[in-house]
Amino acid sequence: MLENYLPILIFIIVGVLVGVVMVAMGAMMAPNRPDSEKLSPYECGFESFEDTRMKFDVRYYLVAILFIIFDLEIAFLFPWAVALEEIGMFGFLAMMLFLGILIIGFVYEWKKGALEWE
C-alpha cells in the first residue's frame, strides 16, 4: 500500500526540480547588469517612503483565524463523509449537532461584523 505513495514523492521532487532548473537556467542565460536604480523597490517613479514591513489591517489576521477554525471543521467532515455508510444514523446526528454548534458560531461572527469589509 505504502509503495503506491512513492511515485507521488518522486513527482513532488520532480515538480520542485522543474522550478529550480528553470530559475537556474534563467539566471545563467540572462545578462546580469545591476545598478542601484534598477534594484530599488518599484514605487511609481519616486523613492520609497518607508519600509514595507509596516502595520497592516488587522482584518487579515481575523480572516486567517476564521480560516483555521473552518478548515479544522472540514478536516472533521472529510472522514465523516467517507464513512457515512458505516456510521449510519448515529454518525449523521452527531455531525448535525457539531454543524449546529458551528453554525451558531458562524452566525455570531457574522452578526459581530467579523465578515465586514468596508
Binding site: 518522486i10 513527482f11 522543474v18 480572516v63 480560516f67 478548515d71 457515512l84 449523521f92
Partner: protein, 353 residues
C-alpha cells in the same frame, strides 16, 4: 526499460539496488509523459487566451510568430529566458528565489493522482483527494512568500489580499468536496469517477449542482483569475505579488498559474462531469476514446476561465470576501445538511449517490 535493466545488471549492481533503479526510472518516464504534455498545454493555453480574448474584442490577437502566430508561446518562453533576473536590494534573497519554485512545485505534483482513464493514473492512492486539497493549499505559500520577500508595497498589498482571498475560498472549496465525498463514499479520485459511470444523467453535476457552482467559482478565485484577480490588479497595484519578479522567475509564476487553471478544470471534470466517461454510453459516443472525453471536458472548463476574463469586470475586494463568506459557505453548509437529511431521513437518498 529493458535497456536500463540490462545496464544495471551489466554494471553488477546488487539485486535490491537494481529493483530500485527499475521502479525509479519507470516512474520517472511516466512523470515525464505527464509533465511534458502538461507544459505544452500550459504554453498553448496562454496562446489560446490571447487569441480568444482577441477575437472576443474583435481583434486578431498574436499572428506574427510562425503561421497564424502558432509559435508565439515558444517565442515568449525564449524571450523570458534571456531576460535579466532582478534581485531587489531590500529583498530577502533566499525567500525571493524560493517563492516561484514553491508555487510551481505543487501545481505540477498534484497531477500524480489525476486519473486520465480507467487504470491510467500514476499513483492510485486512497487519499488522493486529500492530497489534492493539501497541495492546492501549499500554492498560497508561493504568493505570500513572494509578496513578503519582495519588500515592495505593491507586492505586499497583493500578497495580503491574495492570501486572505485564497484561504476564504478554500473553505468553500473544502465544503464542496465534502458533498462529493458524501455522494461517492471515497477519497479515491478513481472511485469517484467510477461512481459516476453510465450516461450523463449519472454525473454528480445534477445532484450536487450548487456544490458544482461553488467549486468552480472557488477554483477561479483560488487561481487568482479574473474576476477575482485583485492579487494582480494591473490597474491598481500594478502586478501585485510578482511586481518585482522578472525574467525566468516571473515565467515560473506564470506557468504555475496556468497549470493551476488546467488542474482546477480537470478536477471539476473528474468530480462533477464524470471524468473520462462519454456523455452517453452508446455508439457512436463510446467509440471516441475515454481520454479524449476527459480532455474535451478539461478544455471546456479552461475555456470558461478565459471567457470570464474577457467578460467580467473585476470584483471589489469587499465584494469578493462577501461572496466567499456570506454566500458560498452558507450554500455549501445548507447543501451538506440537505444531502445528509435526504440520505438518512427520507427515501430519496439514492438521488445523491
Amino acid at each position: 526499460m529493458d535497456i536500463i535493466d540490462g545496464l544495471t545488471a551489466w554494471i553488477g549492481l546488487p539485486e535490491w539496488l537494481q529493483s530500485w533503479v527499475h521502479t525509479g526510472s519507470s516512474t520517472l518516464i511516466l512523470i515525464v509523459t505527464i509533465t511534458v504534455p502538461l507544459m505544452l498545454a500550459v504554453a498553448y493555453l496562454t496562446f489560446a487566451e490571447r487569441k480568444l480574448i482577441g477575437y472576443m474584442q474583435a481583434r486578431i490577437g498574436p499572428n506574427r510568430v510562425g503561421p497564424r502566430g502558432w509559435l508565439q508561446p515558444i517565442a515568449d518562453a525564449v524571450k523570458l529566458m534571456f531576460k535579466e533576473i532582478i534581485l531587489p536590494t531590500n529583498a530577502n534573497k533566499f525567500l525571493f528565489i524560493i517563492a516561484p519554485i514553491l508555487s510551481i512545485g505543487p501545481a505540477l505534483a498534484a497531477w500524480a493522482v489525476i486519473p486520465f482513464d480507467d487504470g491510467l493514473v500514476l499513483a492510485n492512492v486512497d487519499a488522493s483527494l486529500l492530497y489534492i486539497l493539501a497541495l492546492t493549499s501549499v500554492g498560497v505559500y508561493g504568493v505570500i512568500i513572494a509578496g513578503w520577500a519582495s519588500n515592495s508595497k505593491y507586492a505586499f498589498l497583493g500578497a495580503m489580499r491574495s492570501a486572505a482571498q485564497i484561504v476564504s475560498y478554500e473553505i468553500a472549496m473544502g465544503f464542496a468536496l465534502v458533498g462529493v465525498l458524501m455522494a461517492a463514499g471515497s477519497l479515491n479520485l478513481h472511485d469517484i469517477v467510477t461512481a459516476q459511470s453510465g450516461n450523463f444523467t449519472d454525473w454528480y453535476i445534477w445532484p450536487l449542482f450548487p456544490l458544482f457552482l461553488v467549486y468552480f467559482i472557488s477554483g477561479v478565485a483560488e487561481t487568482n483569475r479574473a474576476p477575482f484577480d485583485v492579487a494582480e490588479g494591473e490597474s491598481e497595484i500594478v502586478a501585485g505579488f510578482h511586481v518585482e519578479y522578472s525574467g525566468m522567475t516571473f515565467a515560473v509564476f506564470f506557468l504555475a498559474e496556468y497549470a493551476n487553471i488546467i488542474l482546477i478544470s480537470t478536477l471539476t471534470a473528474i468530480m462533477f462531469l464524470g471524468g473520462w466517461h462519454p456523455i452517453w454510453d452508446v455508439a457512436p459516443f463510446n467509440w471516441i476514446p475515454n481520454i479524449v472525453w476527459l480532455l474535451g471536458k478539461i478544455a471546456f472548463f479552461a475555456f470558461f476561465f478565459l471567457w470570464f476574463r474577457a467578460t467580467f469586470p473585476r470584483y471589489r475586494y469587499d465584494q469578493i470576501m462577501r461572496l466567499g463568506w456570506k454566500i458560498l459557505i452558507p450554500v455549501t453548509l445548507v447543501w451538506i445538511i440537505v444531502m445528509g437529511s435526504a440520505m438518512f431521513l427520507t427515501p430519496y437518498g439514492d438521488f445523491f449517490h
